[in-house]
Symmetry: C2
């Protein structure tokens, strides 16, 4: 069947999509979300169909920006249309739905079709759901990790030893990576760090690093930075490493499921050819992993998957019950990291965590007394120097000063309403507050903590200060504060956690960073 | 946040959808497929978000036709935008993903959000997939059926006895309903028949009936027809009965799964307040239910669900290994049904099936010798008279003659290549042929069979004739014939079914009619 292109000027979110008039769709015999092939000048593309009654006339095919670019179309170009064969991958997804194990070739076919846009949202979601309900065994996880690597970009530095670190996230204010990367790189080890932006948090490492320098590198730029300085902090989204993961995570997000966590994490390490990897698993009430046994189990699985992928992997369980350091929000956290690198601030919990992680990496590649070594590198100023070198290579200002990082001018000081000891800080509420204030989109939004868990306070003492770039957003944050309480102050003798009066609705939880 | 309406002239397939500029989306803190509320003049609507970089400018919100109509919007109207709370139904879907049983209130909440467009494709698909993997118990099936009834239109005739019939489909050429409805209605019983169009077949009952009369009635029209004539044949799609089902089936279709079959069927019967129901389960090689034990199990479940919903239910297992009667395709089948009603054609298998089903209905409401009674009503001409009355009331020509139903002028006669006995007819290939020729969209396309299973043939005898309205489509049908063979002719001594040389890819199967 022949139809004329009608360029709609509409993007369809990456996936090649077209719009058909209902009558033409019936004529072809295709229904909404079905697949057709469109051919123009020897190029053929499989696309997903939307059906309209009035927006596209009979005899025309509404073309999204994605399809326009892929085929180089203009208004009224005549296209050849046919029903596309059902993708083979659908059969494999169906197999998983009936609880069969998938082989590498089958998983590759699914991941390839996901990346190429040949599967619609429903089909991808069915796969993710089936994995969540049935689980994947270690063979399937290995296949999935490898397929995700194969269908994306890879970084090949041609080196035997490449180290990496990862955190599964969930603890607010965790600027560890901004310190670990320069410490490691300054000792001559190669650490091509790929980081993510916030999904549900108030800032991912990519958001924090972006306060200091550009992070949206392409693979060749990343390679140049790492070849010169041994390290980098690049945003995964622009690198196109394991692009399938970004698509899977969209299905998982609103369903509170996370079946691909392991292959997702490990594929990104494999894609930069990491040989040694330390994974931080923040654990405790208020973080993603609530109990030590859960975290131990996850660690065991990560290490085994690492073994199968040829990546020496160690995990560190860290305290995830309170924010790391005294700041939350991209610029505030970048300030804190820079201050610690410059030895201008004392942030004991942050430095302890950094030295444990950097130290573990050092010891994995044969250096002795890793923790002390990391501390020494930090104290010596070598880490600061290395960070400034990386900032420069990534296109930032290597002479950046702490005050160059501007903070929102709207300010709300929150004080203790009673005296006592701080018994808890609620990570989720703190994140919600920082997000309401504008983080991570507004880099200058966030929170500075004056007190943390264990500190004694008196009525009227400053607990924390919220910063925002916009008064409208600050009002939203204050509104949240009127309904909820992020700090617990008590006498250390109170026993009640909470009462349940009617069927409790479990609140939206974290999604693991990957 | 305030944004100006930008009317895009694009439909989004029923679901309320808007398009945001990427920067505005980040400002709001929403990602693709997320939900926002938009308010205008005291009306507030929850809509799903698409994100664009260029198609919608900053400060504007791209409005689909659906949203435009729901809120009565014009270009540049100023709208108030906020992040929508996560629908409660997502928590319930998540519960099903973790294998918990759902209660009525929870299922109702999900179905309501599906119908109102508050859940995106991924979320709906996750629910369908979870039901498919975990299964629903009888309580959940009952809840789902009731929720589907509650969220759609209902027909209330105020009568105690309302009968109905259903076929789970899969056997081609099944025009049984076109005969059962007038037979039953002519005996004074009320049968408000709701039928579907073809999804994967060459014609649903609504497609066949449409060759004789309009079928896209609204509830008040349907009520009028039934009050006057005791019966009708209306298309479910325009009645808005159990609208959730049409949405669920979209997710199921490409995944070859069917977890909602039972509630889907029974909800539509409950929505017309049926008291007595006969369900036809075509069984055998080449139909949806391949074995008698599978069909028996399905029957048991349907009867139990009927009991819980207050519908007396019986099932009949019928031979599903070959087409019913000698025709396939809407107009050809309508012709055959009309000819049998007029006693102008002898179609033994069709009449036998019709009389078993109509007879079962008669006996359920207390009439004796149902089969004979049905045969007598047919023979007497009362059924024809009743059908013409229904045709007239639905807006068709009550004097319609067989030849008024026009058949495609393109014709391809297929002859036997060898002598022997017809040992099988492949339902799926026959359906594929009829669809390629244009059915059900082109009403005059289809197949007339000259021979059926068991018949003896000689080389050169006509097996069947394909009809099409368009030569292009006829070519496609003939192309299919060059690759595959819909009739098996043998000596009744051949044992081989087929060989398997490499890993077989299971072919796309039927979806049950519901």
């Amino acid at each position: 069947m022949h139809l004329k292109a009608d360029i709609l000027g509409i993007e369809s979110g990456g996936k090649p999509t077209v719009f058909l008039n209902k009558s033409d769709a019936e004529e072809i015999g295709i229904s909404a979300s079905g697949r057709i092939t469109i051919s123009f000048k020897k190029k053929t593309l499989t696309v997903i169909v939307n059906i309209t009654t009035a927006s596209v006339n009979r005899g025309f095919i509404g073309i999204s920006e994605e399809v326009k670019q892929l085929l180089g179309l203009k208004q009224n170009h005549v296209l050849d249309i046919a029903i596309a064969a059902f993708p083979k991958s659908l059969q494999f997804i169906h197999n998983k739905l009936t609880r069969r194990r998938l082989l590498y070739d089958e998983i590759y076919e699914i991941v390839k079709d996901v990346v190429q846009g040949n599967l619609n949202e429903s089909e991808i979601s069915a796969f993710v759901t089936a994995l969540s309900m049935q689980g994947l065994d270690m063979d399937e996880a290995t296949s999935l990790a490898l397929a995700m690597v194969e269908t994306g970009e890879q970084l090949d530095l041609g080196k035997k030893t490449i180290v990496d670190k990862h955190s599964i996230g969930g603890v607010p204010g965790d600027k560890t990576t901004l310190l670990v990367v320069p410490i490691i790189a300054s000792m001559g080890l190669t650490i091509p760090k790929v980081s993510s932006r916030a999904i549900t948090s108030a800032g991912g490492t990519a958001d924090r690093a972006e306060a200091l320098m550009p992070v949206d590198l392409k693979i060749p730029e990343m390679e140049q930075v790492v070849r010169k300085s041994n390290g980098c902090i690049a945003w995964g989204g622009s690198l196109d490493i394991a692009p399938a993961d970004d698509i899977f995570v969209r299905s998982e997000y609103s369903l509170y499921i996370d079946p691909m966590l392991l292959p997702s994490i490990m594929s990104k390490k494999k894609a930069v050819k990491a040989s040694h990897l330390v994974i931080d698993i923040p654990t405790g009430r208020g973080s993603k992993m609530q109990t030590i046994s859960e975290s131990d189990f996850l660690a065991k699985e990560l290490i085994e998957l690492g073994r199968r992928l040829g990546i020496h992997t160690q995990c560190v369980l860290t305290n995830g019950e309170k924010p790391v350091g005294f700041t939350l929000g991209p610029s505030l956290e970048a300030r804190e990291a820079l201050a610690v690198l410059m030895n201008k601030a004392v942030v004991p919990d942050l430095v302890d965590k950094v030295c444990h992680i950097a130290g573990s990496i050092f010891e994995m590649v044969g250096k002795k007394n890793g923790y002390q070594l990391a501390r020494e590198v930090l104290r010596s100023g070598k880490a600061e120097q290395k960070m400034r070198e990386i900032i420069n290579l990534q296109g930032g200002d290597s002479k950046i000063k702490i005050d160059d990082l501007t903070i929102g001018e709207e300010k709300a000081v929150v004080r203790a309403k009673r005296s006592g000891q701080i018994s808890w800080m609620d990570n989720m509420i703190l994140i919600e507050l920082a997000r309401a204030a504008g983080a991570p989109k507004d880099k200058g939004a966030g929170i500075i903590f004056s007190k943390k868990v264990g500190d004694k306070v008196r009525v009227g003492d400053v607990l924390y200060t919220i910063y925002s770039e916009k008064s409208r957003k600050m009002s939203r944050a204050i509104e949240i504060l009127s309904e909820t309480e992020p700090f617990g102050i008590g006498d250390n003798t109170e026993m009640l956690i909470h009462k349940i009066k009617e069927s409790p609705l479990v609140k939206r939880s974290f999604i693991m960073d990957r």
